[in-house]
């Protein structure tokens, strides 16, 4: 029993879900009074506040009339969310159906092809071809009709092959569901975040270790850091459009320009925090490196990077948060399929149903942002050597 308790407590610590800790401790009868107090503080109070918020929303929403109808109340939004979910499930079913049918069709065609391609058929084809060549060489009038026979025989095979190919590559063409759009948005944000990290980490480290580089970068960083995503987006769109064609690229240009916009806006926190982390390494650790005469790479990977990892991850966490926020705006403007475009389409539609869908989008963005942040917190804890005690034991 004790092992399970320790395991649960460790799990809570690792996942940074500290509000669950008093619940586990209470279950094991540990100082019930203290735990109840904590449960009240960390679970009950937030829940009461949330319920109060819902009540306020309901009260206010009922009294606001717009041209898309009343502002949706919590139950309306909830209803819309569940109907969006069931739409998603239905679409998934349809898609599964489509691919199942496709499989059946491919199997049928392949069977036909196999029946056709017998040795006898090959022989006849060869013979017809030989006859044809002979007649053509003789310049006989029968050559024309022979050629028609030969071509129809040969086209039987190629027709079937083309049909199989078509059936295999056909894609389900239903509209993307809400969940598909969330997934697209996540792909875009991670792509942009990866670009941002790839740029910000090396530059941040260089800024931290070299005063000259820092002096060179400071004006650029100060200048571009405050620039809003709304400005970057059209610029990125034009530049990306010059190099990437919408028709022949595996990644659509709207996706790439959204991702680059996300990168341009979210690289600053990582850059600044990395520079700070590297620049504020414990002087004693630098002295150790000097006494041991560690080489550049050894200094980099054994001292500089490990010691600045906690701050680097703090920066990454802020960056991902910024990136997610920027993404919605970027998608909305670039009409890159995703949550932002979903909101835009809902706005264009203007019905009371799509009004409720926009509220669903607000909560979706919030919940996903929260989850991303939690994930980063977990990473941050894992690399922080000061309070990683629980991980090591």
């Amino acid at each position: 029993m004790k092992e399970i308790k320790y395991f649960l407590l460790k799990l809570i610590d690792v996942t940074a879900l500290n509000f669950l800790e008093p619940v586990v401790r209470l279950c094991y009868g540990e100082e019930p009074k203290v735990q109840l107090e904590k449960i009240g503080l960390y679970i009950l109070v937030p829940m009461v506040a949330f319920v109060a918020f819902l009540g306020l929303w309901w009260g206010v929403a009922d009294n606001i009339m717009t041209k898309s109808g009343k502002v949706p109340t919590p139950p309306v939004v909830w209803h819309e969310a569940s109907s969006m979910w069931s739409q998603h499930l239905a679409a998934r079913e349809q898609r599964a159906d489509f691919y199942k049918k496709q499989e059946v069709r491919v199997a049928e065609l392949e069977q036909k092809l196999a029946q056709l391609e017998t040795p006898q058929f090959e022989q006849r084809l060869e013979k017809t071809k030989a006859d044809l060549e002979k007649l053509e060489a003789e310049n006989s009038p029968r050559a024309k009709s022979k050629r028609a026979v030969y071509e129809s025989m040969a086209s039987q095979v190629s027709n079937l092959e083309a049909q199989i190919e078509n059936a295999k590559t056909a894609q389900y063409a239903g509209a993307p569901t809400y969940i598909d759009q969330i997934i697209l948005s996540l792909k875009t944000v991670f792509f942009g975040f990866a670009i941002a990290t790839a740029i910000a980490l090396p530059i941040g480290i260089l800024c931290g270790i070299s005063r000259v580089f820092m002096a060179a970068m400071t004006p650029l960083i100060s200048l571009f850091k405050p620039v809003s995503p709304i400005v970057w987006l059209p610029i990125c769109g034009i530049i990306v459009g010059a190099y990437i064609n919408a028709d022949n690229s595996s990644l659509p240009p709207a996706f790439i320009s959204s991702a680059i916009t996300v990168a341009l806006c979210s690289l600053w926190p990582t850059l600044v925090n990395t520079a700070l982390g590297v620049a504020s390494i414990d002087k004693d650790h630098i002295n150790v490196a000097r006494v041991l005469r560690l080489g550049f790479w050894s200094r980099m990977f054994k001292i500089i990077i490990p010691s600045s990892l906690p701050l680097i991850f703090t920066g990454l966490r802020i960056s991902l948060g910024v990136g997610w926020m920027v993404l919605i705006a970027a998608e909305l403007l670039a009409t890159n399929p995703g949550l932002g475009k979903f909101v835009w389409d809902a706005f264009q539609n203007g019905s009371s149903q799509t009004f409720a869908q926009m509220f669903v989008a607000v909560f979706t963005v919030g919940i996903i942002g929260l989850l991303l942040d939690r994930i980063m917190v977990i990473f941050q804890r894992a690399v922080s050597f000061d309070n990683a005690q629980a991980m090591a034991i």
């Binding site: 926190p269 414990d282 002295n287 054994k302 990892l309």
Partner: protein
């Protein structure tokens, strides 16, 4: 102990000067004209009031602190920067928290024995960790070790480099007295075993006598200098009880304490004089004030490392001003 004449001056400090700028930017000599010869295998301890520049001398020998003028020769070679031939045991253990005790020691061993095989290196690291009594916990992280155990790792890391001179900068200053006694005993054992040449800065009179062959007493700064040097008559290998029972121990201890007290009075008198002159608004008040200022600068430079701050939304200008990687 020494066969060759150069062994008599294995480590030599010649006219060593260290100047720090005072608040007005003028250089003031914190340490002035320090001359010292150390034999091969000899253990020297340096005592003095805090802020007197004893740590400054040690960090200059380590190469971590640039020399203003004069020079330091170790084994016939003038030193130009830090290196593993002058391993340092710092006051705080300075272990890298993301590495185990074993990895911390291995970091140096890897660099100093580049041609050794993996197995040989492993044996070296394990040997020294066993010597300091950490055979059982060599794969623990620093945070899992007590302060005393961390400092043992620090000592093992330094000794494993087989340095020409072992430099100890108040190595037990942060430990409680019981742990300190334990570690002193371990250090004595190591010094006997390795026949190392060593230099230890301390402000503990008993520790200075217990560990050293010669105790160097420094005058109070600024312009700190070597005041007196006493030889200790205690035989090696040493142990605490034998030293404490030695008839010369208490007289020597008295002499050291007398010296420190005299220096303390001298400093207080100088400070009082400066104050009274300043109050009297004499012409020389400015000069005296400078001297007091320098003392503070020296102390700050010697003791206090700037604390790294970790706020999130700082601008790069602030990062820049807080940068201390200016090696």
């Amino acid at each position: 102990m020494s066969q060759h004449p150069q062994d008599e001056r294995f480590v030599e400090l010649v006219h060593l000067v260290k100047a720090y700028p005072n608040p007005h930017g003028d250089p003031i000599n914190v340490v002035e004209d320090v001359n010292l010869k150390i034999r091969k295998g000899e253990v020297i301890s340096i005592i003095g009031h805090s802020g007197c520049g004893k740590s400054t001398v040690l960090t200059m020998v380590a190469g971590l602190n640039p020399i203003t003028s004069g020079g330091i020769v170790v084994d016939n070679r003038e030193i130009t920067g830090p290196g593993p031939d002058r391993a340092v045991v710092f006051q705080s253990p300075c272990l890298l928290p993301w590495m185990t005790a074993y990895q911390n020691v291995m970091l140096g061993v890897q660099n100093v024995y580049p041609h050794a095989t993996k197995q040989e290196r492993k044996e070296i690291v394990e040997y020294y960790l066993h010597l300091v009594g950490l055979g059982e916990s060599m794969h623990k992280y620093p945070r899992e070790l007590s302060n005393g155990m961390q400092q043992r790792v620090g000592i093992a890391r330094a000794v494993a480099l087989q340095p020409k001179v072992l430099l100890l900068d108040e190595p037990f200053g942060m430990l409680d007295s019981l742990t300190r006694m334990e570690l002193q005993q371990i250090l004595l054992g190591l010094l006997d075993k390795t026949q190392a040449t060593a230099m230890m800065v301390t402000h503990d009179v008993d520790e200075a006598l217990l560990v050293a062959d010669r105790v160097v007493m420094m005058t109070t700064g600024p312009r700190a200098n070597i005041g007196e040097i006493v030889e200790t008559p205690f035989a090696r290998p040493r142990d605490r009880d034998a030293v404490l029972e030695h008839p010369d121990f208490y007289p020597l201890r008295g002499r050291l304490i007398q010296f420190l007290e005299d220096e303390g009075h001298r400093r207080d008198a100088a400070a009082a004089k400066a104050r009274s002159e300043r109050d009297g608004q004499t012409v020389s008040a400015v000069e005296e004030e400078q001297v007091v200022g320098v003392e503070e600068v020296a102390e700050a430079s010697a003791e206090a490392a700037p604390m790294p701050t970790t706020p999130l939304g700082e601008t790069l200008d602030q990062v820049h001003s807080e940068q201390h990687v200016s090696s």
